[in-house]
Assembly symmetry: C2
Homo-oligomer: 102 residues x 2
Amino acid sequence: MSDGISGPCQIIESFELIGSKWRLIILNDLHGGEKRFNELKRSTDASSRTLSRILKELEESGLVNKEVIEDSPIATYYSLTEKGESLCPVFEEIEAWADEWL
Amino acid sequence: MSDGISGPCQIIESFELIGSKWRLIILNDLHGGEKRFNELKRSTDASSRTLSRILKELEESGLVNKEVIEDSPIATYYSLTEKGESLCPVFEEIEAWADEWL
DNA sequence: CAGAATCCTGGTGGATACTG
DNA sequence: CAGTATCCACCAGGATTCTG
């Protein structure tokens, strides 16, 4: 496709939502199903500071859903929204590319 | 690393190659065909410092090809390698996602 | 024209400690 | 458990200047 790309900005905009190391790691991690804060912390090896910031960003972008259960020890569950789930094809395409070229 | 999806690391690895604002902008710009340094500088509005750094990175990743023509005023042409071109489906998938969700 | 060198700033992210 | 607060280091990246 020689040009005709009307929206390079859209791609850039998209990458500003998902295209950072941490956002990717976390989104990917949540593809396995909902997880709690410390669970994510362990599996992603992010600092709590970073993790909470990224989760907040992803939440504000509408990619991640947060569910709080106010029990004795509080519990929060993070999961992908529909918008977040719909990134699957993108990830798959990247994986396909990686399989061929990495 | 995490379970379920086969290669989360690959995705992250891929994003370390292409997933930054400038890498994206430049890769996208080069989809229109080869360009010279200052041409890219103008169309992407990157500083020469940034542009040369990113181009070098992309070259080392094998995504971009550099061709130097040693004439009176030197001329360099940057273009996508096959590996770089093969990212098209990824970009298209992202655009599709952006069209639906942004 | 194509860059490299220098300087400087803001943001990202780690480590640690603390709170509800 | 699920964060927030503080401090601190590193590096991306802009502006500018200089060179082959």
